[in-house]
């Protein structure tokens, strides 16, 4: 690895860690109703919204009411997006010549569910399918709404652990409104200006016809790209404006936009670890979580970076030079962009696969077997490394609960976590969570690889790599990530329906269980933490946590990984 590549990785990690406390404190203030700088501007807007929507901000919700509100909000968003997509040919800015992919019911439904669950799995290419109206009023707006909803659920979960002897987890409508007004919109304004400055287009122009230097013509797709690009990352959604997402020079023109777009994905989830620690009154707990996440993140960078820089043996045998040097990035450059090179692409792959964000700046389908396995494993682990906005914190805490449980068994005492007990009630929910997450990946994969409809999607790659494509698709959907091995032809009724199924489980079953868990914790009385308890904020516990994560992930997924990426790595020549 060259020193600039290492510096890029290191600076990224340093900035993420450095931002955790300021971002986390701000989130704490926003959701605990404390004063912030933006209050004079936003509080009147907030009051007006509650008035028009007939929302009582003082109304507390128990976990069931919160979950139902979350579900109702998501259903409303799905319905609105479905309507916009099915009627897009009658709406403004629809270009029937260029946007000629048929908007079938299954594609529209899959896309609507996909965006309303922040998965943003795209079984379509933006510039050949979506009108500007759909992209902005439909898809980008859902990025805000679904992202805000996810953040709200994450905050409610933290409240459940932080509160004592109550059933109330807050008010979902207040949390969603505050998440949108105080967090997502201001950040998107700043981010949008930075991106446009670097070259991301923001227009409603028709596609431009260019007359190339060699004499041919080139039709250049345009659009209001910046208005989608920023929230796509902050809301940990990931769905791109164009077919190739952030590999497209209009979505990601410079190495700086690449770095910024990746930071946007991570800063809020990383900040939530600090928010968690502060809300429960034990900041060290938050730092321990951030530390574990960062270690796992760095591990992924190391493995994928090494695999992709080593590249494939085949081109070298043909007289091709893939060594890294001052004059080129070298490594496996198939499906990658020169301005990012191997390491800018690996950084993106690891950030997005960990961050439940379906964006990418290179074709993961063309990664080396081990290189492509890293994003796959990241998603299978449950999006716990920084993770999705809101979902990341509860996914990681649930892993902590499993670790505390196992640790408690070894030490021989009832497991406790920050003063809350883990009784049968809580552990049942944890176990269901783990099982549902794995089942949502493994069951559809199993069906797809033995059914003709599933195998029909393998139009680009076959054999073990084809298996990896299918496995990746369901891991991504269940993790509400949305990235793909794009060689899989997923715009079929079979895949549109089956991936939607995984997405719904990954979003609503898992969030529902997390909220139930939060409700159970909130009812408990906080017990004092004594020296007799297993401490959960020490490096030793962090090591135990990492071991538990690897063991659980391995038990669930090692067989499938052996059939896919491992087999491919071992048999390649």
């Amino acid at each position: 690895m060259t020193w600039p590549a290492f510096l890029q990785y290191a600076l990224f990690v340093v900035i993420v860690i450095g931002c955790a406390q300021p971002v986390g404190s701000y989130l704490f203030c926003v959701f605990e109703g404390e004063r912030t700088l933006l209050d004079p501007l936003l509080r009147p807007v907030e009051r007006w919204i509650y008035h028009r929507a007939a929302i009582d901000p003082q109304e507390g919700m128990n976990w069931k009411a919160y979950a139902l509100a979350f579900l109702a909000f998501s259903v409303a968003g799905t319905a609105l997006l479905l309507l916009i997509l099915m009627l897009q040919q009658h709406g403004p800015w629809f270009d029937p010549v260029n946007q000629n992919t048929p908007m079938t019911v299954d594609l529209a439904l899959n896309t609507a569910i996909s965006f309303a669950t922040t998965t943003t799995w795209q079984a379509y290419g933006g510039e050949t399918t979506m009108s500007y109206f759909s992209q902005i009023v439909g898809l980008a707006a859902q990025n805000f709404l679904a992202g805000a909803a996810g953040l709200a659920v994450g905050i409610a979960f933290i409240r459940g652990i932080a509160r004592n002897e109550t059933r109330l987890l807050g008010n979902f409508w207040v949390d969603v409104t505050r998440a949108t007004l105080w967090v997502l919109v201001p950040l998107s304004v700043i981010g949008g200006l930075l991106l446009i400055w670097q070259g991301v287009p923001m227009n409603f122009a028709a596609y431009t016809t260019a007359h190339g230097l060699e004499g041919g013509t080139q039709l250049i797709a345009q659009g209001p790209v910046a208005a989608l690009e920023v929230i796509k990352n902050f809301g940990t959604n990931g769905g791109g404006f164009f077919n190739v997402n952030a590999a497209h020079p209009f979505e990601n023109p410079t190495p700086l936009t690449n770095f910024l777009e990746l930071l946007m994905i991570v800063v809020l989830p990383a900040g939530l670890t600090y928010t968690f620690g502060r809300m429960i009154g034990r900041p060290s707990q938050g730092w321990m979580i951030l530390g574990v996440m960062t270690l796992l993140f760095a591990g992924g960078l190391g493995v994928a970076g090494w695999a992709e820089q080593s590249g494939s043996p085949a081109p070298v045998a043909l007289g091709v030079d893939s060594q890294a040097s001052a004059a080129k990035s070298g490594g496996n450059m198939e499906g990658k962009e020169v301005r990012f090179g191997v390491h800018g692409s690996v950084l993106a792959a690891v950030v997005t696969s960990n961050g439940a964000t379906g964006s990418y700046n290179s074709m993961h389908d063309s990664f080396t077997p081990l290189g492509g396995m890293v994003p796959m494993v990241n998603m299978m682990l449950g999006e716990i490394v920084y993770g999705g906005l809101g979902a990341g914190i509860y996914s990681m805490v649930i892993m902590i609960l499993v670790t505390v449980f196992l640790g408690g068994l070894m030490v021989g005492q009832t497991p406790h976590f920050v003063g809350k007990q883990l009784t049968t009630r809580e552990m049942k929910l944890v176990v269901f969570y783990i099982i549902a997450g794995s089942a949502a990946i493994l069951l559809p994969t199993m069906i797809a690889v033995v059914s003709p409809a599933g195998l029909a999607g393998l139009t680009t790659n076959h054999g073990v790599h084809g298996f990896s494509e299918i496995l990746f698709a369901y891991a991504s959907s269940a993790a509400n990530n949305g990235q793909n091995f794009a060689g899989l032809n997923a715009n079929s009724v079979f895949y549109n329906v089956s991936t939607a199924f995984s997405m719904l489980i990954g979003r609503f079953v898992l969030a529902g269980l997390a909220l139930a868990l939060a409700g159970a914790f909130a009812e408990q009385k906080r017990r004092p933490i004594t020296s007799g308890h297993l401490p959960t904020d020490t490096p030793l516990f962090g090591a135990l946590l990492i071991a538990t994560i690897i063991i659980l992930g391995g038990l669930s997924f090692l067989p499938t990984l052996a059939l896919g990426p491992v087999a491919e790595q071992v048999t390649r020549h």
Binding site: I49, A76, W197, E214, P224
Partner: protein
């Protein structure tokens, strides 16, 4: 309790739990969609057009009133007296900027090895005296199909062919490559590269062929 009362109770529970949140859900969805899906984009449109009009419009390169292309979007070059960009996997033709695409060929897919071999052969065919190993970015398809750049090594590899077919001194071409070299941003972000369109335009301006290609 009679069946009537039981049913009424259940319906009341349903209405209470499931339908109660629907009204604020719909209202909030509508309001926030207007804010985030209409207000925010309009604000960005205004700010972008006012502050960064060239970038907001797609960084178009114009010449004599016609649009040549975009600074950010690669275009196809196949004549030997131009620097070639990277292979492009868009359909139906390479560098189709209305339908971005990569090849998505897996690392062990025989089609990928065949494609690379074909590209190596094509490069060697137009430049038989060049026995150097071919830089990897010249024989692999980009992720977008629209990559505007090649690596420095990729440009250097082509200097001999370009200068020979143009009838221009090699040093002049090499100097133009060096002039158009873009380093890493801030010294360490990303990779050094050359924008192929910009380089070829510079070539046409400062080291033209005998006759105007157009």
């Amino acid at each position: 309790m009679t069946i009537d009362t039981a049913v009424q109770r259940q319906w009341g529970a349903v209405r209470e739990n499931l339908l109660h949140p629907l009204r604020p859900a719909i209202a909030l969805t509508a309001i926030l969609t207007l804010l985030a899906g209409v207000g925010y984009p309009l604000a960005m449109l205004a700010a972008g057009t006012l502050l960064f009009p060239q970038q907001a419009g797609g960084s178009l390169v114009k010449h004599d009133g016609r649009v040549l292309g975009s600074e950010l979007i690669g275009q196809s070059f196949a004549d030997p007296w131009y620097f070639w960009g990277r292979p492009s996997a868009t359909t139906p033709k390479p560098y189709n900027a209305a339908s971005s695409s990569g090849s998505n060929l897996g690392p062990t897919n025989p089609a990928l090895v065949e494609a690379i071999a074909a590209r190596v052969a094509a490069l060697r065919h137009v430049d038989p005296s060049n026995r150097l190993p071919v830089p990897i970015d010249l024989v692999t398809a980009s992720g977008s199909g629209l990559d505007p750049d090649v690596s420095i090594a990729g440009a250097n590899y082509q200097i001999d062919r370009v200068s020979r077919t143009r009838g221009v001194d090699r040093g002049v071409v090499a100097a133009l490559v060096e002039k158009n070299r873009m380093g890493r941003q801030f010294g360490f972000l990303g990779e050094p590269r050359v924008n192929v369109l910009r380089l070829n335009r510079d070539l046409d301006a400062r080291a033209p062929r005998g006759s105007d290609p157009r």
